[in-house]
């Protein structure tokens, strides 16, 4: 069977991912482009004996990159050595911005790539009275032109069949201006570009970081000697193309209607109203957080007691011994600690993808820009910050759409302060233990405290952004030019794919860490070399003469835990965390959750179940019953609970985030500054809270 690599390219908001989902279905996966952490979506499908590998490139307005996202598009398409270099490109355009899409199409053809052209959202065009002369357009573009309505699945079969189409001879639509022909020829010599247009693109690029250092140096010298302003070149090309396109497309598209008052304009009157727009946005946020808290409750309870039951019955089924302990206390408890997050994460991603799919997210950018700008951020930071409410890892990655370097760096550095879903289980359990279940002004008090924790995350993020803005002194130019598409009913399929993708990404990615740590914890907690560990039974017998059999068993268990490897680690850091109101058992949780916050709850479950004999208790009941051995109070009382909430609100307890920040900023310096700042601040806040409340 022959194989073929196809790239999907198009402006943002043209329905590119809907087409991608239609073509590939569930045979898709997300990964990264080599060297950069821009998300790469690929999928496969087979049609008439050909196996197609589809790459969904990030949205771009033109081939000249003005963000990291667009740079990926350029690099994949410009370099035949690139592992993602396609054999054919499908350029997707929208009928109302045909010129803009054709511009991108021309650039791709002139780079030497065969391409076909798809006009999506044809249903909207028909409703608006646009008439597209496909034959005329095919003549202008010298390729096959297809009309699709991807949301309804119309035209997808035709698109599949057209992938084998061999485009006709293409005449270049842009002649390199005479004053630059010499420089272009020189560039061609330096880089060995395939044709003049590719050399022109190299010459008009802002960054040359993908080129070998010697070539980049030569180019820099060339540009300096010839006094070439790359920005001018880009503008010159774009203007020249548009001028020509105006004539060429004049006959291809006919607009038969005069006036167009659409539903989007009516909705926008309310949704981006200077006052009501904000009211609606914040009401929506409040609704989302109430939903996460209340809707996930029953699912979480069911999962929690389900796993407790599973552990107990497995324990009975298997012969007693270390293997039994590994399965029940280590693995089953560990998996339970992962699965319990699924309801909240899924609910959050349902809302986030609904906002993206419907077109509301770009309104959020518009509404928030004025208020984020003073903090050194842009309206586009709103998306990473909001996604940070799910998980900092994709959120940090989504900052790549921010064009300005400084705004992007600040966004990356402060996003981990946002309340990610990994903090949620800790918050929910601690709030459930230390905040009374009453109503406050008709709202659930626990839900309000949870909302307060989210507000705290936002305040911490903005506050540190403001500090960073003062510290980072680079003079920079920042702008916001943002397209706001028409509102659309979200495609259920797209939402479900997205929710599935993100949830599974979490379960498999974070799950692996959690499971591994659970097993390691179990090993460290079940073995030890000290005298008090190996001879626990005799020592307990000696210190407590006449103790009854059940109490004896419990004492032995907790004695063993205290003097196991794990217990030694916890006790080693106890002096440091005692002022925060924690005991050595919680210290174990802090150590292990440095890998990932969510590990805290499952660690505490493992630690407390290792120290007891009753397997039927749920995680919550175990934590509620635990007594801090230093103070004699419940381990999770009001003061230590608040202290713990604050610690997890601010501390950089996530190795994956550290790794992604290092990758995205390409700087150890900023990564360490972020780590030290966050964890130091967390320690101080927790210390202050506990000392004042106890």
């Amino acid at each position: 069977m022959t194989e073929m690599k196809i790239a999907l390219v198009g402006n943002p908001n043209v329905g590119k991912s809907t087409i991608f989902n239609q073509l590939t279905g569930l045979r898709q996966k997300a990964g990264n482009y080599p060297g950069v952490t821009v998300e790469r979506k690929t999928g496969t499908f087979t049609h008439q004996q050909v196996k197609y590998q589809l790459i969904d490139l990030p949205g771009a307005y033109g081939i000249h990159p003005s963000s990291l996202d667009e740079e990926v598009v350029y690099r994949v398409l410009a370099d035949p050595q690139n592992s993602n270099y396609p054999e054919k490109v499908v350029v997707i355009g929208d009928p109302f911005n045909l010129k803009r899409s054709v511009l991108l199409y021309q650039q791709i053809r002139e780079m030497g790539l065969p391409a076909i052209f798809v006009i999506n959202m044809i249903d909207e065009a028909e409703r608006a009275g646009l008439v597209i002369d496909v034959q005329q357009l095919e003549k202008v573009l010298a390729t096959k032109v297809l009309l699709t309505d991807a949301r309804a699945g119309k035209g997808i079969d035709e698109l599949r069949a057209a992938l084998q189409h061999q485009p006709g001879e293409y005449a270049t639509a842009f002649d390199i201006p005479e004053e630059y022909t010499a420089s272009v020829a020189q560039t061609k010599q330096i880089t060995g570009a395939r044709n003049n247009y590719n050399a022109w693109l190299t010459l008009s690029q802002k960054h040359h970081r993908y080129l070998p250092a010697d070539q980049a140096d030569e180019l820099a010298t060339l540009r300096k000697d010839q006094g070439i302003n790359y920005h001018r070149l880009q503008i010159q090309e774009t203007l020249a193309r548009y001028t020509k396109l105006d004539q060429q497309l004049a006959t291809a598209v006919k607009d038969t209607t005069k006036k167009r008052e659409n539903a989007t304009a009516r909705l926008d009157r309310l949704l981006i109203h200077p006052f009501w727009g904000y009211v609606i946005f914040f009401a929506l946020l409040l609704l989302i957080f109430q939903a996460i808290y209340t809707w996930s409750g029953p699912f979480m309870d069911a999962i929690d007691s389900g796993f407790a039951w599973l552990a107990a019955s497995t324990s009975e089924l298997l012969p007693a011994g270390p293997f039994n302990g590994l399965i029940t206390d280590g693995i089953i408890t560990g998996i339970g600690g992962i699965v319990i997050f699924i309801p909240q994460i899924a609910i959050l991603f349902i809302f986030i993808s609904l906002m993206e799919e419907s077109g509301y997210m770009s309104r959020v950018v518009y509404l928030m820009d004025r208020w984020l700008k003073p903090f050194g951020l842009s309206g586009k930071s709103a998306v990473p910050l909001m996604s940070g409410a799910a998980c900092a890892i994709p959120a940090v990655m989504s900052a790549r759409t921010i064009e300005n370097d400084k705004e992007r760096l600040i966004t990356i550095l402060v996003t981990p302060f946002m309340t990610c879903s990994a903090r949620l289980p800790i918050y929910i359990i601690i709030i459930g233990l230390v905040i009374p279940q009453t109503k406050f002004m008709g709202l659930d008090l626990q839900g309000l405290v949870l909302f307060g924790m989210y507000v705290l995350g936002v305040v911490a993020a903005l506050g540190s952004a403001w500090v960073l803005k003062q510290v980072m002194k680079t003079s920079y130019k920042s702008y916001l030019i943002l397209e706001m598409p028409t509102y659309k009913y979200p495609v259920v399929r797209n939402v479900l794919y997205n929710v599935w993708d993100k949830t599974m990404g979490f379960v498999l990615g974070a799950g692996k860490i959690i499971l591994a740590i659970s097993v390691i914890l179990w090993v460290l907690g079940s073995f030890g070399i000290s005298e008090r560990f190996t001879n626990a039974e005799e020592i307990v017998r000696m210190e407590n003469p006449g103790i009854d059999e059940e109490a004896f068993e419990n004492r032995v268990q907790s004695e063993r835990l205290e003097y196991s490897f794990l217990g030694s680690m916890g006790r080693a850091i106890e002096p440091l965390i005692e002022p925060l109101g924690y005991d050595w058992k919680m210290g174990i949780g802090l150590i292990s959750s440095f890998a990932a916050r969510e590990v805290f709850v499952s660690t505490m479950a493992t630690v407390y179940s290792l120290g007891g004999t009753d397997d039927e208790l749920t995680i919550r009941e175990r934590m509620g019953a635990e007594i801090n051995q230093n103070t004699g109070w419940p381990a999770y009382n009001f003061a230590s609970g608040i202290s713990l909430l604050l610690f997890y609100a601010f501390a950089m307890q996530c190795m994956s985030t550290i790794a992604i920040v290092r990758k995205e900023t390409n700087s150890w310096k900023w990564t360490f500054i972020q780590l030290a700042f966050m964890t130091g601040f967390a320690y101080l806040a927790a210390l202050l809270a506990y000392q004042m409340l106890k």
């Binding site: 503008i235 774009t238 200077p274 064009e403 702008y479």
Partner: protein
């Protein structure tokens, strides 16, 4: 401010025609988005405190949001 009027000087509901740019140093995005001389547009929304503006190019259902600073770089024909 020069004597030329820019997008930033319009009120919601007002229509204008792009005439040119205040400087050569404006983002390539402006060109790529098709905000070129001769385009007719309506300013549909403004946010308070010198916030961004929202314009809609004629016969295009999508809107484009611009910060006040960018809006002031794009000049309109005087009517």
């Amino acid at each position: 401010m020069s004597q030329h009027r820019s997008i930033a000087s319009l009120s919601p509901g007002e229509t204008g025609t792009i005439a040119g740019y205040r400087s050569n140093d404006i983002p390539i995005k402006v060109y790529e988005m098709g905000l070129l001389p001769g385009e007719v547009f309506t300013l549909t929304h403004r946010l308070p405190f010198n916030g961004p503006v929202c314009i809609r190019v004629k016969n295009n259902p999508n809107s484009i949001a611009l910060r006040a600073t960018e809006a002031d770089l794009i000049l309109i024909e005087s009517t």
